[in-house]
Each structure stands twice: as structure tokens, then as C-alpha cells.
Amino acid sequence: MKTEETKLLLKKPEKATSREAVIEITNLCKSFGTQEVLKNFSLKLYDGENLVVLGKSGSGKSVLIKCIVGLLRADSGSIKVFDQDVTSLNMKDMDKVRQKIGFLFQSGALYDSMTVKENLEFPLRRVKDHLKQKEIDAKTKEVLENVGLADALDKMPSQLSGGMRKRISLARTIVVDPMIILYDEPTTGLDPVTSEEISLLINDVQKKYKASSIIITHDIECARTTANRIIMLQDGEVYAEGSMAEFEKSTDKVIQAFFK
């Protein structure tokens, strides 16, 4: 057990495989009433990389990824996912784009009325409707093993702990083999040990599924474990961009306040 943990601790995020952008956001603006949440925000997510978006609560991090999957409509600017501008897509085309994107919600968002198995089968039956029951069973078993909860298949979400819920939620996100995964505060509300396990799991997923990820967090340890590149968001704008090492060396007060 200990050697397994030591092995996990040595895991580092994979480097980005190419400089091809899978998501390209240009001059994104989003307001709620008079409050401007995102102001001319631009970002590129490269194929196979883990991009961490750091920022204080209320700085617009969650709004950013909700705009990417079309849960929120951008006021202006463009969001290109695999060269398709999602801001101008109709529902049908948006659904096709969403099939390539996995989204891990801050609260886990497991369906309370369904068992873990039904939770995992739910997106699988809709995104990959050609699969037979045997293939669906094999896939759900595989993802549960990948998140280390093979025996939770018949449990209800109410029977799971916070960490287990996050793992099952991650399993539901990866069950459809997404090319991009958006993590909304994956370690919020978890103890340091479980947080570390989830962060390592994110690296594992990146390696196994070759997915590109945007990880929204304010947890520096999570960022340290998972980030290939970091963008810092302040008042809806990009404040700084660089590697973990560059951020840690920075003498800027705002950055230092985060990395102390």
C-alpha cells in the first residue's frame, strides 16, 4: 500500500503532446447585470495539456468553463472548440460538441435518484447509443476500476463519502472518453489526503485518456500536482500566465498572496 502511494506521489502531469489548440477563447466578455465577470478574456488550451486556471472565489473561473460548454451564453467574443465557434452554434450542433467534452462539477452533481451504475450508464447510453449492454457493463467496470471504486457499482450517491462522490463523478466524466475535460474546483471541500488523491487521478486520466484539461481551482497543491501551465484570473482578466516554477518565483504581491 505504501509503495503504491509512493508511486502515486512520483507521478507528474504529462507534457502537452503538441501546440495545436483544442480550445481557443478570444476576447470573451460576460456580465451579470451591471457586474462584469469576464473582461476580454483570452485563452488557448493545447492538445494533451493540463491548464490550471487559478483565481480567487468570484473571479469568473466557473463562469469561464460554463461558457465553454454553453451552459452560459457569452456576451461577446469567440470560443472555438476544435475550430467550431460554440457561441454561434444551435442546440443540435452544441450537443455534438458537448459529446467531446467532459465536465466535472464542483458538487459532483451525481443523480440522487440513480445508483452509481445508472449514473455512469446515463451519459454512455446517450453519447454512445450504438453500444450493447455488454459493452456498457465493461466500460462502466473499467472506469470504476480506474478511479479505484470497483465495488461501488450498486451504491446510491447518498451512501458515498465526499471523496468517493468526486471519484464517481470523475468516472462519469471519463466514461464517454472525452477529448477535453473541464474540472470545476475538483478538490474543494475535501481533506488534504483525498485532495491529493483526486489531483493524482487527474494526472492519471490525462495519461490514460490523452485528454486535454482545464482545471479551475484555488487549491495551490492541486495546481502544483496537475498543472502543465497556469493562468491566473483576477477580476475577470488574465493577470499572469506561466509555469508553476515561474509563479512560485514571482515577486508580484497578488501572486505571492496565493503561493505563500
Partner: protein
């Protein structure tokens, strides 16, 4: 020659006399203007909110109709909802239906006996149960159980981001959650109402046997001899509308709940209140229409 001190005091007095009314007038004018503008703003806000809510309802109904006629109907979820709405309401509806008939009989019997019309009791109870009491009371009970349940369930799904999770899984929450629930309510409520009517007549037979002696077969044959197609059809038709109202109101309130946990309770509560009110309004309209049908 007046002293300088006396002169100064007069001057101050004169200035006071002029300044105080002006400043008071200014204050009063400001106060009234503020009050007027606050009142106008409040009225505008109320009108705006009403219009926004009305537009929301229309949009919701439009989406519901659009998704109802889409190709992919969630049949499995529809049957699951039919089970939850229909089968799981049976104990409550059984008790309600039985008590309804029982109480109606006990209360009506003395008046009928006074006029020597106690043989009319089964027919009178059956007609009142089937035409009015059965549908309305069962629908109100269902509004309390089903509409509030839908409001709370969908409201908590909204708060815990489950509806958004469905949306990003390329599933239309309106199709999966709303269409299935509304149609399940539309089909199950009339069945529950007919079931409550039947149990109401059984309850009435029990009530009649407290002070009399009549066989179940005779009681039923007397009851049904007074019921015609014209009694049953409008009751069944309005039951479908009660079902639609319960389903739509419950889902609308839950689906449009706010973000906090407090809004879940509010959604459940307002779903019951609005559904009950609309049931009575639909009943009033149905009675007017039925009244126009020539017998």
C-alpha cells in the same frame, strides 16, 4: 436708539422665519418626490416581474410542447414516473376516497330522510362524487403530494447542478425531466380520480350501513343507475386537465427554482399553492362548459 445686541437678535429672528419654512418645503418636496418615485419604481418593478414571469411560463410551455413532439421520447423514465405518481399515491388516495364517500353519506343522510328520499342516497352520493367531489378533492390531494414533490425534486436537482450535468451529457433536461413527469401526471391523475370515486362509493356503502342495512350489490346498482355518460365524460376530461396543471406547475416551479437551498422549499410550497388554485379555476371553467351541454 436700540442697542446693537437687540438689533442682532431681531435680525436672527427674521432670518429664521424665512429660512425654516423654505428648508422644510425643500425637505417636504424631496420627501414627496422620493416617495412618488419609490412608488412608481415599485409599481414598475411589480409590472416588470409579472411580465417576466408570464413570459417565462409561456417559454416553458413552448419548450414543453416542442420537446413532447421530438423524436426521442424517454419511455423508460415516463413509466418510472407513472409508477412514482400513480402506484405510490395509492395509499393516500385510497384513504381520501373512502373518507370522502363515507363523510358525504353520513352528512347527507339526515336531510334525505327528512324528505323521505333516503333511497336516493346511493345515487346522490355517486353523482356528487363522480361529477365534482372525487375529481376536485383527489386533484387537490395530488397537488399537495405530486406537485410539491416535483417542485422539490427538480429544485434540489437545480441547486446541486444535476440539471446542468444532464445538459452537458447531451441530454435535454426538459425532455427527460419535464415531459416525462407532465405526461405521467396527465395519465395517472385521471386513473387515481376514478379509483378514488370507486373507493368513495364503497365508503358511502359503509356509511349507509351504520344506520341502515343495504347490500353492496344493491347499493352499487342503485348508485350506477343514476350515473350517465354525461356525468362521467366531463369529469374524466377535466381530470386530464388537472393532471396537466399538476405536472406543469410542479415542474415549472422546480425547474425555475433559485440557486440556494431555501429556494427548494419555496419551489415546493409555491407549486402546491399555484396548482391548487389553478385546479379550482379549471374546475370552475369546466363546470361552466358542462352546464352549457344540453342533457
Amino acid at each position: 436708539m436700540p442697542s446693537p445686541l437687540k438689533f442682532a437678535s431681531t435680525k436672527i429672528h427674521v432670518e429664521m422665519k424665512i429660512n425654516i419654512p423654505v428648508s422644510k418645503a425643500k425637505q417636504l418636496a424631496l420627501h414627496h418626490t422620493m416617495k412618488l418615485s419609490e412608488g412608481t419604481l415599485a409599481k414598475t418593478a411589480i409590472a416588470n416581474n409579472f411580465l417576466t414571469d408570464f413570459a417565462d411560463v409561456l417559454l416553458f410551455v413552448h419548450h414543453f410542447i416542442k420537446e413532447t413532439f421530438s423524436r426521442k421520447f424517454e419511455l423508460k423514465e415516463f413509466f418510472r414516473q407513472c409508477f412514482a405518481i400513480g402506484y405510490k399515491s395509492l395509499p393516500l388516495i385510497s384513504v381520501t376516497g373512502f373518507i370522502m364517500g363515507f363523510v358525504l353519506t353520513i352528512q347527507s343522510r339526515p336531510a334525505l330522510v327528512r324528505f323521505g328520499a333516503d333511497t336516493m342516497l346511493p345515487g346522490m352520493v355517486a353523482v356528487s362524487l363522480i361529477r365534482e367531489m372525487g375529481p376536485v378533492i383527489t386533484a387537490l390531494i395530488c397537488a399537495g403530494k405530486i406537485a410539491s414533490g416535483m417542485g422539490a425534486e427538480l429544485g434540489s436537482m437545480k441547486v446541486t447542478e444535476q440539471i446542468e450535468a444532464m445538459e452537458v451529457s447531451s441530454t435535454h433536461p426538459m425532455r427527460f425531466l419535464v415531459v416525462t413527469r407532465v405526461w405521467a401526471a396527465t395519465w395517472m391523475i385521471p386513473l387515481l380520480i376514478l379509483y378514488a370515486d370507486g373507493l368513495g362509493i364503497i365508503g358511502s356503502w359503509f356509511g349507509a350501513n351504520i344506520k341502515g342495512d343495504v347490500s353492496l350489490v344493491l347499493f352499487f346498482s342503485q348508485a350506477f343507475s343514476h350515473i350517465g355518460f354525461i356525468d362521467l365524460l366531463p369529469a374524466v376530461v377535466k381530470s386530464f386537465f388537472f393532471g396537466i396543471v399538476i405536472g406543469l406547475v410542479g415542474c415549472y416551479k422546480g425547474y425555475n427554482a433559485g440557486r440556494g437551498t431555501e429556494s427548494v422549499g419555496k419551489a415546493a410550497n409555491s407549486a402546491v399553492v399555484l396548482a391548487s388554485l389553478l385546479i379550482l379555476i379549471v374546475d370552475m371553467i369546466a363546470v361552466q362548459i358542462t352546464d352549457m351541454i344540453p342533457v
